[in-house]
């Protein structure tokens, strides 16, 4: 229990205004971008590492679990706080502390918004590569917790490939540095283990990330196909040809129409699927690869191929991709997103399965996803006010995750396991495998006080039926 005296102690650390405990004020903190919900006892907004450390130490001493929160855009229930738990959020720790152009790094606080960092870095001819679709809203602290991905992770890797070092707070309030200023360190790679640990190992209060130089040339292709099967064949042809584009995204017919309904991204309304492909590099490389990509698209039956090089044209194509999940709101008020991954050559098979499940369960499913990585995002669209519809969607999602596992794939490529997928972990890992993972958690957090009840199956959920008057799903994927 978070006793009143704990709240008083917390107020003395961060100030009265920065401990949120009134139920109405807490409403926005009871959910994230997923379908789960639970009301925290209080939310604390520290202004410094020292304050955050004191807050977490006080909670530890009081036996209260702590959950870190970034911007609440997560898609696996990672920021959902157990009843009576404390949430720590970082809107007051949102500064870019340093850009080092010689070493090409940025030192940031956890509340910095992903796109703000990227935009700032571009002033120095650099960029921050991981670009989740929620990048206008999501924070670096949350990106670290979830090992966030994004379209351009195909070529540049997910968040873990870009984090060099961190200052983190452990469950008892201890402040520890992981990694270093150097990219190579001594000892166990605690930095690597921490990224993607979904807030169960600690809470990052400073993050040192790599910045990459901007490319000399960028070219974006829109490959237009009559059906999704031939678009899948094109994906295999491009990868099989030895080309790893900067991004290789697929958008299906339903999503195309949803997007075009909201904004003209230049996708043809009657297409069965489009591929959004981006090439980056030297002019010579981009020219050479462009010819090969274009040939691969025509060879695999593209109805048309459009090429954009000017920034405005390219941005228009990308706006469609990045706003797709918001555009689904015109089809149905709620969505539930699956994040499975399959070996790239099994995409066709998997998408047929998605279609079959959609028909059998009577659920509309849209597909907008990272085809180059084999990372699907089947997005179930429904109205949660209809009785039984949530259970139906969950059952369909379970079938899709089982199929991903059966094809040699996995449950999540970039959203995390959190609450949503934890009961499915046995599809890909044995008890012994999960026991090995828990040994690492026991090393970081021996008392399991940070974000407990996530990742590993234990039969517990915090989500009651979705609130009928409100959209329960997030805006991003």
């Amino acid at each position: 229990m978070a006793a009143p005296d704990l709240l008083a102690q917390l107020r003395s650390v961060v100030g009265d205004d920065y401990v949120i405990a009134h139920p109405e004020d807490l409403l926005v903190y009871e959910y994230d971008g997923s379908v789960d919900r639970s009301m925290p006892r209080a939310v604390v907004l520290p202004a410094s590492t020292d304050e955050a450390s004191q807050v977490i130490a006080l909670a530890y001493q009081a036996g209260v679990p702590v959950v870190g929160r970034g911007s609440g855009t997560g898609l696996s229930g990672g920021a959902i706080t157990p009843p009576d738990g404390l949430q720590v959020a970082f809107p007051r720790m949102a500064r870019i502390l340093k850009i080092d152009t010689l070493n090409r790094t940025a030192l940031v606080e956890p509340g910095v918004i992903n796109l703000d960092l990227d935009n700032y870095a571009r002033k120095f001819g650099l960029r921050y590569a991981p670009d989740p679709s929620s990048q206008r809203a999501c924070s670096l602290g949350g990106n670290v917790a979830e090992n966030a991905g994004g379209p351009h992770c195909l070529a540049y890797g997910t968040t873990t490939n870009h984090v060099i070092g961190m200052e983190v707070i452990l469950e008892d309030g201890a402040i520890v540095n992981l990694g270093a200023l150097a990219r190579e360190t001594v000892g166990y790679d605690l930095r690597g283990a921490f990224v993607g640990s979904e807030g169960t190992f600690g809470i990052a209060t400073k993050i040192l990330v790599r910045l990459l130089p901007l490319p000399e040339s960028v070219r974006t292709f829109l490959g237009i196909f009559a059906d999704i099967d031939s678009a899948c064949t094109a994906v295999s042809a491009i990868i099989g040809h030895g080309i790893i584009p900067a991004a290789l995204e697929m958008i299906d017919a339903l999503s195309i129409r949803a997007v075009q309904n909201v904004t003209d991204a230049g996708y043809p309304n009657d297409a069965g699927a489009v591929l959004l492909i981006e090439l980056e590099g030297l002019h010579e490389e981009v020219d050479e690869l462009s010819a090969e990509v274009e040939a691969a698209l025509w060879d695999t039956g593209a109805a048309d191929v459009r090429i954009a090089e000017a920034d405005a044209e390219r941005e228009r194509l990308w706006v469609g991709r990045k706003t797709a999940f918001g555009a689904f709101g015109a089809i149905a008020p709620n969505y539930y997103l699956v994040d499975g991954v399959v070996p790239r050559t099994r995409l066709t098979h998997m998408l047929r399965k998605v279609s079959e499940v959609s028909h059998r369960y009577g659920i509309t499913i849209a597909n907008v996803f990272h085809a180059g990585d084999g990372n699907l995002h089947p997005c179930m669209l429904f109205d949660a006010r209809e009785p039984g519809v949530m259970d139906n969607a969950m059952a369909a999602a379970a079938e899709l995750m089982a199929e991903c596992a059966a094809l040699g794939g996995t449950l999540s490529g970039e959203h995390g396991i959190g609450l949503e997928k934890k009961e499915f972990m046995p599809l890909v890992y044995t008890d012994d495998d999960m026991a090995a993972m828990q040994k690492v958690r026991n090393a970081f957090a021996p008392d399991n006080r940070l974000n407990p009840g996530k990742i590993f199956p234990d039969g517990s959920y915090y989500h009651p039926a979705p609130h009928p008057a409100r959209h329960t799903a997030g805006l991003y994927a």
């Binding site: 010689l102 070493n103 790094t105 090992n147 991905g149 873990t160 452990l170 520890v176 540095n177 270093a180 200023l181 150097a182 990219r183 190579e184 360190t185 001594v186 000892g187 166990y188 790679d189 605690l190 690597g192 283990a193 993607g196 640990s197 130089p213 000399e216 990868i239 099989g240 080309i243 790893i244 590099g281 030297l282 010579e284 490389e285 020219d287 050479e288 991954v341 070996p343 790239r344 990585d373 040699g408 794939g409 449950l411 999540s412 490529g413 396991i417 972990m425 890909v428 890992y429 044995t430 012994d432 495998d433 090995a436 993972m437 040994k439 690492v440 026991n442 090393a443 970081f444 990742i455």
Partner: protein, 444 residues
Amino acid sequence: MSPTVPRTPSARLSDLIGPDGTVHPAELTRYDIGPFTPLAAVRPADRQELTAVLRWAAQTSTAVYPSGGRTQIDLGNPPAKPGIALDLTRLDRLVDFQPADLTISAEAGMTIARLHDILAQDGKYVPISAPLPSRATIGGTLAAGASGPLRAAYGLPRDWLIGITVADANGVLTNAGGKVVKNVTGYDLNRIYTGSLGSLAVTVETTFKLAPASQELAAVVARFPNAPTAIHAAQTLQNQHYAPLGLHLLNHCAAAAIPTLPPIDAPEFTAIALIGGRASSVRRRLHDTAALWQPDALSVALLQNDPASDLIAALTDLPAHPTATLVVRVNAPPSEITNFFNFTEPHLPPPALAADVAFGGARLLWWDDFTAADPRIVAAALQNIQQSAIAAGGSAVIERCPHPVKPCLDVWGPPPSGIAVMRRLKAQFDPAGILNPGRFVGGL
């Protein structure tokens, strides 16, 4: 199976794995770790034999010193207790190669050279790199956390390992990661095992994501009059769109250790830009790099194809130079690594220096005879290097040193900030302390 302690370890071990897997006592010294000779050595043929050996070791509380090609066996502190050598080179099977999915799975005892050969037949590449690749194994390379001269562009081995099977301290096989290139399902144990020097578990099988192989390799080799001009040339190149895959600066001693490089005299420096990719881009990079460096360089040479590959191989092998007596790996950010170019330490002769200035790192090498030197004085000098590296935001590892020096220091340097977590991690995975005991950071 009764947990009795056998009279001699090898007698009982041969029962478990058959005589083919047991090393004759006369050959045991092949498994020496410095002055330490193991009680016995075994070479399991498959994972059943491997896990039987580990169960036996757990039951008898016998320490196990895993090894692959033994090319980096010097790395680490001295063994903490008597134990057996576990030779993994017979676990060397190709398990699964899916060129269209860009993934490969192979057992840990496969050599790096064979892995690269298999991939090259399909035009694929994985940037896993270690000195002496025809002997170095995948498992050993990952355990040592070794990386090569192209790491600035490709990243470290941990960035390419997507799945792993290990045998734990009780001989139980567990998996982590998988066979897909993007995966956040559970904790990333791939990264915990990589660079752990076999102190948490024994690697059995690995899965990597792959890259397309470069169509062509090339290099620009330039001679600069001194360190400042070479550093300026390197930093200027780094800021170009045509920046190379790897960028290295060598002083005259280091250049002399690579036979294919033209000799230079102090205070000159050799700058090497390693280039790869599509043929069209390689031409542009070669031309533009040479043009950029020409005005300040004393000479500029272009290498293409085999000579470039040979140079990459020589840079890869340099840290394992057969006659070097002392080798130090310095990790520091690019802006700081250049401070080590003027390295002077009163109790050490001037070293050979090979710096990876794009990634941030350097090797210091000596060929001097230290047998007459006081090991405590040599150790103190090395600890000064470690302190300098820490002050620069990095670390320094003594990869090779004379045997009498080793007990006088921690080759990994002072324990890093997360050492308490690291100690708990070791206790979780290996509570009895039988996996490569004493050899890792802080004596773990």
